[in-house]
């Protein structure tokens, strides 16, 4: 029975390939900025635009800024997040990215924001879902080249499920759903401990960005 469960679990793992975290890594007190991220970047034929939230089309209007519940602290944190956009296969993607420094390494908490089709409709608007985040390690090669390195989701899951790494998670073997449920603080510790293990990254998923502008 145990063998069967392990086989089923491994089969399920092959379905997904990036880590999924339910509680975002970012907090108001650990979010930082690095303006080198801003700009237009190229990866193969895909062009990425990265800008601050308050420079993007999502920015608040002057009227919004006057709203009572918008505090100076809000404004500070507001200015630290980035919007990354790109187009692929006729779809316009937008992600929200927050930068966090852990020890000497930088990580981006990436959260899917929109995927719009040519009618400006959300192409992936499922009911009965909840949103999660992904994490990429940010490695600067130069001011004009940066690598976003993504974890190998299968490997991370494997070490978590086998008990070789301890972090809060949920795993539904029947439907194959896996998600890390660690708090931001717990995730920081996890990344501090494992973030420099090269074997945990999936090189095929690394995005090499070259600055265009």
């Amino acid at each position: 029975m145990r063998t069967y469960i392990i086989i089923v679990a491994l089969c399920c793992l092959s379905f997904s390939s990036c880590i999924t975290i339910l509680m975002p890594l970012i907090r108001t007190d650990n979010l930082i900025t690095d303006d080198r991220l801003r700009g237009q970047w190229e990866n193969g034929s895909t062009i990425y635009h990265i800008q601050k939230v308050n420079e993007s089309r999502y920015r608040l209007s002057a009227n919004d800024l006057k709203k009572k519940n918008y505090s100076p602290m809000d404004s500070i944190t507001d200015q630290k997040a980035y919007i990354a956009t790109y187009s692929k296969n006729g779809l316009d993607y937008s992600w929200v990215a927050g930068l966090v420094k852990i020890d000497q390494s930088y990580y981006l908490n990436l959260s899917a924001l929109e995927c719009l089709d040519n009618h400006n409709e959300d192409a992936y608007d499922l009911e009965g879902t909840f949103d999660a985040s992904n994490i990429a390690k940010v490695e600067w090669i130069s001011n004009d080249q940066v690598n976003l390195r993504f974890f190998n989701g299968e490997k991370i899951r494997e070490i978590i499920l086998s008990g070789r790494a301890r972090i809060s998670y949920e795993y539904d073997a029947l439907f194959g759903t896996f998600s890390i449920t660690a708090s931001s603080e717990e995730m920081e510790k996890f990344l501090g401990k494992y973030g420099n293990y090269e074997g945990l990254y999936d090189e095929k998923r690394t995005i090499h960005l070259y600055r265009k502008k």
Partner: protein, 263 residues
């Protein structure tokens, strides 16, 4: 339900001036509820602090929507059933009509097509022949959503465990994007009256949340920005369902389904 969002994803929306399009508020679409008016609500956000406030507002909106529509499943990370609990009933196959927000809707239950079984993990795909593929549409035939449904018996009652199916355009979407949308289970009590009528009962989410926040029940859950996500495993969920399955305060609303097409 719709998406329950992490602080980031939902924190952004367009300002009134110069929008290219509207950003949908990604929550609150009930299982049998269009929810369009809610989804088109715009939020002008974006700090994390104000996001917390917005979640509170959204939670209130959610409770309001549930209060007025009565539609809301028991939203859980784990399914409410084991394979042994599946109680496939062939008489559900067919098209049913129901009324939602004073509009006629249609629900088509059919066996899960073999090409859609590929969306399921191997363990559940093994028993996919005992499940249904549900397509909800409006009176113009526009698909509202599609899902995998399993009729299960827990205690003395029957329930639907509803699991989202992919959209038609899903194959075009980056996997990394799709991976950030975690599918949850939404469950409803089902009372089959006869071969042509059955009733879906949704849970009273405010009652449920009250039970949890006042510690009247001890069920494993996470609070993600003010939203309660139940992470209890199946055994614990079933204990809860058996305990509250017949509680009139828990399953409050009725959605009457009437058969329109036999298959």
């Amino acid at each position: 339900m719709g998406r329950i969002v992490a602080p980031y994803r939902a924190l952004l929306a367009l300002p009134p001036s110069g929008p290219r399009h509207s950003v949908k508020l990604p929550i609150i679409k009930g299982y049998l509820q269009n929810g369009a008016s809610v989804c088109q609500t715009r939020l002008y956000i974006y700090s994390f602090k104000s996001e917390m406030k917005r979640f509170t507002i959204r939670l209130l909106v959610l409770l309001y929507v549930i209060a007025i529509s009565g539609c809301g499943g028991l939203v859980t990370f784990y399914p409410i059933f084991y394979k042994k609990d599946i109680a496939f009933n062939p008489s559900l196959i067919g098209t049913w009509k129901y009324s939602e927000d004073h509009k006629t809707r249609f629900a088509e239950f059919k066996p899960i097509p073999s090409e859609r079984k590929k969306e399921l993990a191997p363990a559940i795909a093994e028993v996919a022949d005992k499940g249904y593929f549900l397509t909800r549409s409006d009176s113009a035939g526009t698909i509202i959503n599609q899902s995998f449904v399993f009729l299960v018996k827990i205690g003395s009652n029957y329930y639907f465990d509803n699991y989202p199916a992919e959209t038609a355009s899903a194959s075009m979407i980056d996997k990394s994007y799709k991976d950030q949308v975690v599918k949850a289970h939404s469950s409803y009590r089902i009372d089959i009256e006869n071969k042509d009528h059955f009733t879906i009962r949704s849970i009273n989410k405010s009652f449920m949340d009250q039970l949890i926040t006042s510690n009247k029940i001890n069920i494993r859950h996470l609070v993600v920005d003010g939203n309660i996500l139940i992470t209890a495993e199946t055994a614990e969920l079933q204990k809860f369902i058996i305990q509250y399955g017949n509680n009139p305060k828990m399953f409050i609303d009725e959605l009457k389904c009437e058969r329109v097409i036999y298959y």
